[in-house]
């Protein structure tokens, strides 16, 4: 059992997704507990994998017993296990949350929703555990296809948003596939470990340059990196609440993971940062992403749309850290993958709760909501502090490392971009929190009684929101330990 954990983490949700349809035909109510159970089991397995990696180093799993260059190999090191834990944890929490919100938003379609949801989890986890570049393409498409379908069942504008995502996502995936093709042309292998051994000898081949360019553009589209982000705000705004939460918190992060793998495992830092000036290109693009994302978010009325633009800025943070080429910034980027997953999940879950209770989506509709939904708004407050980067919260620590990293690289202008983006976040959340706490009629007196105003969302929704909010604080307090036990080992050699 334990030695098969790397493949079970994919096989279980995949099989469960198919079984769920049959289960749903028999008893409709079963699909929700089934999805929660499966995601919980997968989370347990990912913890087990993390434990194995922490105690025994990198895990290699040969699919079907075929030796690596010929067969597909699953490789789990600290970075993979880290991502798998994040994805499966958020997948589990959002599955718990989804019950009431999907009941309201997609009545009668729960069975199909949970099947596709499990497929999405399968795809995302598949990307995190595989050590084969073509296999990543397949899982990338499994997760994206599930994502297209889940986004399309949102509100009125969702199909069109999803269609644009299909077009952009397909271009991204095809570029990635072309990158795989060009690499295969010169190396004859698809295994990441094998590629990283062969490629240094080919670092002046034009075919390898072409492959690298295709990989970068492909992953940049998939992770909504700034100039290629246009599909994201519409798609995540119009998707069902639970889908926005899982997609915003994990899909972009997994894209960032693929970029890290391509840049630093398949190609070496010596190639990505020295032969090709990726550091400067990605640095300026991510500075633009941070500023543009924050500025565009300022202009939004819709809560989820504002969060989506913030997500674009956050992707810029991560790429900035990844491309700086020193260990401090890289540590910050990997930590920010974790923190941002929690913050984004928290924000989108709160937006979903507001939509569930008030059927509202604009920031102005939040007026005075702290009386009606005190705990939900407190969670929003915690996530907001973290997004701004106020010390005890998680966001502060990753931003600290990121800014230190840019200073270490001597790039003050990028450090300034971080500060400006954080400042803009502060302005934005000031506006939101002011609406929540200081506007609206004071204590609307209803005929029911004095304190009948408290009208929180159901426990299955409130619980996940609070878990995420507490998570943001706890991750902040334990960030030192997380860095020492896991992230320290993810920094690529040569930094």
């Amino acid at each position: 059992m334990t030695e098969h954990a790397p493949v079970l983490i994919i096989v279980i949700p995949l099989m469960a997704a198919c079984l769920n349809i049959l289960l749903g035909l028999w008893k409709k109510e079963l699909s929700y507990p089934w999805a929660v159970l499966v995601t919980a089991v997968v989370f347990g397995l990912s913890l087990l994998l993390m434990q194995t990696v922490l105690s025994g180093g990198t895990v290699h799993y040969r699919l079907g017993g075929w030796a690596p260059p010929w067969g597909i190999e699953y490789v789990i090191d600290h970075l993979n296990a880290f991502l798998a834990v994040i994805v499966s944890f958020i997948g589990c929490i959002v599955a718990v949350y989804s019950r009431r919100s999907i009941e309201k938003e997609l009545p009668g379609k729960q069975v199909y929703f949970y099947s596709i949801y499990l497929l999405l989890i399968t795809g995302l986890l598949g990307i995190t555990v595989t050590g084969d570049v073509f296999n990543i393409y397949v899982f990338l498409e499994i997760s994206s296809l599930a994502g297209y379908a889940l986004i399309a069942v949102g509100d009125d504008r969702a199909p069109m948003a999803s269609f644009n995502y299909v077009i952009m996502g397909t271009i991204g995936a095809c570029f990635y596939l072309l990158g795989v093709g060009y690499l295969y042309m010169v190396t004859g292998t698809l295994n990441m470990g094998d590629l990283s051994r062969i490629l240094p000898g080919l670092s002046h081949s034009r075919v390898v340059y072409t492959a690298f360019a295709f990989f970068m553009v492909g992953t940049a589209i998939k992770m909504a990196f700034f100039p290629l982000h246009i599909w994201l705000p519409a798609a995540y705004t119009h998707a069902p609440s639970a889908v926005s939460a899982i997609a915003a918190s994990t899909m972009t992060k997994v894209g960032a993971y693929v970029m890290i793998r391509i840049m630093y495992t398949v190609f070496k830092p010596a190639f990505s940062l020295e032969v090709i000036p990726m550091s400067a290109i990605l640095g300026w693009a991510s500075a633009a992403a941070m500023i543009a994302g924050s500025v565009l978010a300022l202009g939004q009325k819709d809560l989820k749309r504002m969060f989506s633009f913030m997500l674009v800025a956050e992707v810029g943070y991560i790429v900035m850290g990844v491309s700086r080429g020193n260990s401090t910034a890289f540590t910050g980027a990997v930590l920010h993958i974790l923190n941002d997953a929690f913050m984004m999940a928290c924000l989108f879950l709160v937006a979903g709760a507001v939509r569930y209770r008030k059927n509202a989506r604009n920031i102005t509709d939040l007026a005075g909501l702290h009386q009606e939904m005190p705990l939900t708004m407190l969670a929003l407050f915690a996530a907001a502090l973290s997004m701004v980067g106020v010390p005890p919260t998680a966001g502060f620590f990753s931003k600290w490392y990121l800014i230190l990293g840019t200073i270490k690289a001597g790039e003050w202008i990028f450090a300034a971009a971080f500060l400006l983006s954080s400042l803009l976040n502060a302005v934005m959340f000031y506006r939101v929190l002011e609406t929540v706490y200081y506007t609206g009629e004071p204590t609307p007196k209803r005929q029911g009684g004095s304190s009948a105003a408290v009208n929180e969302v159901p426990l299955t929704m409130l619980g996940p929101i609070l878990v995420m909010a507490v998570g943001v604080l706890v991750l902040g307090l334990f960030s030192g330990r997380i860095i020492d036990t896991v992230i320290r080992f993810t920094v690529p050699e040569g930094f």
Binding site: F134, Y137, V138, E141, L145, Y148, A149, A152, D156, R157, P159, M160, A161, S162, F163, N164, V166, I167, T170, I171, A173, C174, L177, L178, V180, G181, Y184, M185, A234, R305
Partner: protein, 127 residues
Amino acid sequence: MTNMEFIIGKYNYWIYIVLMMIGFYAMIAKRNLVKKIVGMNIFQTAIILFFVSIGSKKGGATIPIIRAGDEAVNAAQYINPLPHVLMLTAIVVMVSTFGVAMALILMIYRKYRTLEEDEILKPGAET
């Protein structure tokens, strides 16, 4: 002359690039959603051509099945089957993408009664 030989000798790669650009253009510039999907299919088909090209060999190379009499495996005699196999997987992915896109088009058509992007986007400024 060498330029001509370069172009003619690798014509399959040139066709792949031309096809890919046709598909790319259709996906980005066409305003009709079905045309966009057709462009997407051309784009993906171009990639299949590319992969099949990198696996093929000229001069009598054949499928990699070793006959009873053959002793040593001479790589020049055999076509590399792996890119073709990759494309089988990629075709499955492409068909699924096509299916999802067609389903989306159906949803969009039922909602707006048109498939022209301009008309769909007209009523609201934001998408």
